[in-house]
Amino acid sequence: MLEIDDQPQPFKVSPGFIAFVGLFFLPIVLAVAVYVGAWLVADDVRAAEARQEQTAGFNVEREGGSVAGWKKALVGICPVH
């Protein structure tokens, strides 16, 4: 039923091979970087949000001791945080 055959070609490390490997491994590296990164900065973001709630009209991103925009973005895109 599954009579599909495949004709192997000679192997050499080529840009195509590197792209192929990247296709399988890069998404994982990216996902792990986001998860770990968000985990590392989540406390900073939550602390800043709590300060923001306490002080009406307080702009978290411009004040000293506030949280950087990239940290908020990182936590924002991580589904776990």
């Binding site: 009579e3 990216l30 998860y35």
Partner: protein
């Protein structure tokens, strides 16, 4: 048994006539039910104790994270060692960690950090179990029953999402989390018992003469130099990225178009699950190469267009129906793609091929869920569902123009020289 029942079982359960596969299938069914039952038990327990969705998410993430780094290691091991031994260990580890949580819960010593650690352990065992079981299924049945075998395994995987929590949730509600841990431990013990009944098979001795890294790179190059195998795996990867990373879109879609909040999310997920379950069973009954190719093309196109249809719906019942269609097409396409890859791969490479699949698909779905989640805030979930679905349907149509694509779909003459 009536003649009709015999015919149905003979067609849709053909692989079950092989004792070793039957044992593996039963083990897989109990293992999957245990895994989903455990997710529910952990979730209820942590939420009851802490009322923190974040901690529930952390425990679930701890169970999922090993899927990112365990498969490459296990893939090599599954080709170097007896696969039955690896599987038996995974069931053993899961039984022990469930019994440990049961003991700690009964004695009142169980804390949230312990559950997270046990979740990680459960994840490691599960990440080893999935590719090993896939590689093993392919070696327990003849090639003509491979699609049937993998479809039975896939239907078990989808069905267990309903059955595992369906059994465990009332137990946890009535008797507490301890009952959930006990039920999951029993599931895993039965799985371990059935796995231990599968015959041992000697792995290829040549692999042990190479280093672990050489084996791993050997697996990558093995896939890369085979155009059909490479094509199928890359297409499956694109399929998962564009059509299966919808979890982060559905709550927003439900809010945008259906119920005004995220409450339609669960109903849509159920639709996807039910569709996937029946489609997995259905593809197992396909008997000719041409039919398999045709169904695969149709499933690929429908997988994309199902998402497009879903994006146009604004009534929950209709959206659920579209989600079921989408789930059916996705599961059918993925089952057939796995059957194609496993049928091409030589047995001593099947562990590495299955692990590369698990790794790639898990990674792309995690990343695309992240990307979709953040893009949905700017462009809306409805637009993303529409364009990503349409894009994948177009890719499937375009793939018919390539000779390798036509070979995958059974529309090109077979090669004279078979794969080495």
């Amino acid at each position: 048994m009536s003649r009709l029942a015999q015919n149905v079982l003979g067609r849709f359960g053909a692989a079950l006539q092989y004792t070793d596969f039957r044992n593996l299938w039963i083990a897989n069914a109990f293992g999957q039910a245990g895994a989903w039952g455990l997710i529910v038990t952990r979730g209820i327990l942590i939420y009851d104790e802490t009322e923190s969705s974040l901690l529930v998410g952390t425990a679930t993430f701890a169970a999922m994270a090993p899927l990112f780094f365990i498969p490459p290691i296990v893939g090599v091991l599954a080709d170097r060692m007896d696969r039955r031994t690896i599987l038996a260990w995974t069931y053993g580890v899961n039984t022990v960690q469930n019994l440990a949580m049961l003991f700690l819960a009964v004695s009142g010593l169980l804390e949230v950090w312990m559950i997270v650690v046990f979740s990680g352990l459960n994840g490691v065992a599960r990440a080893a179990q999935l590719p090993t079981a896939q590689a093993m299924s392919a070696s327990l049945v003849p090639r003509e029953n491979l699609l049937n075998a993998l479809s039975l395994q896939a239907s078990t995987q989808h069905g267990s999402r309903l059955i595992g929590p369906g059994i465990v949730t009332p137990l946890v509600a009535a008797f507490g989390a301890s009952a959930g841990f006990l039920a999951c431990a029993i599931f895993y013990v039965i799985g371990w018992w059935k796995v231990s009944q599968v015959s041992r098979r000697q792995p290829a001795a040549s692999l042990e003469r190479q280093s672990f890294v050489e084996n791993f790179v050997g697996g990558l190059s093995y896939v890369y130099v085979r155009p059909v195998l490479r094509f199928m795996m890359v297409l499956a990867l694109i399929h998962c990225g564009l059509t299966m990373a919808f979890e982060s879109l559905l709550p927003t879609f439900s809010h945008e178009k259906l119920t005004g909040d995220a409450s339609g999310f669960g109903t849509l997920l159920m639709g996807v699950g039910v569709g996937a379950f029946f489609a997995s069973l259905f593809v197992g009954g396909i008997q000719t190469s041409m039919a398999r190719g045709n169904v695969m093309i149709a499933a690929g196109i429908m997988s994309g267009l199902g998402q497009v249809v879903l994006s146009f719906t604004s009534v929950l019942w209709l959206a659920t129906f579209a989600a079921a269609l989408m789930g059916a097409a996705q599961a059918g396409f993925m089952t057939m793609s796995q059957a194609v890859t496993q049928s091409i791969a030589a047995d001593e490479f099947r562990g590495r091929v299955a692990s590369l699949n698990t790794l790639g698909l898990g990674g792309i779905m995690a990343t695309m869920n992240l990307l979709n989640g953040s893009l949905a805030d700017h462009f809306g979930a409805t637009a993303l569902l529409f364009w990503e679905g349409l894009f994948f349907a177009a890719i499937v149509l375009l793939s018919l123009l390539a000779v390798t694509g036509r070979r995958v779909y059974g529309r090109a003459p077979a090669l004279e020289a078979s794969a080495a």
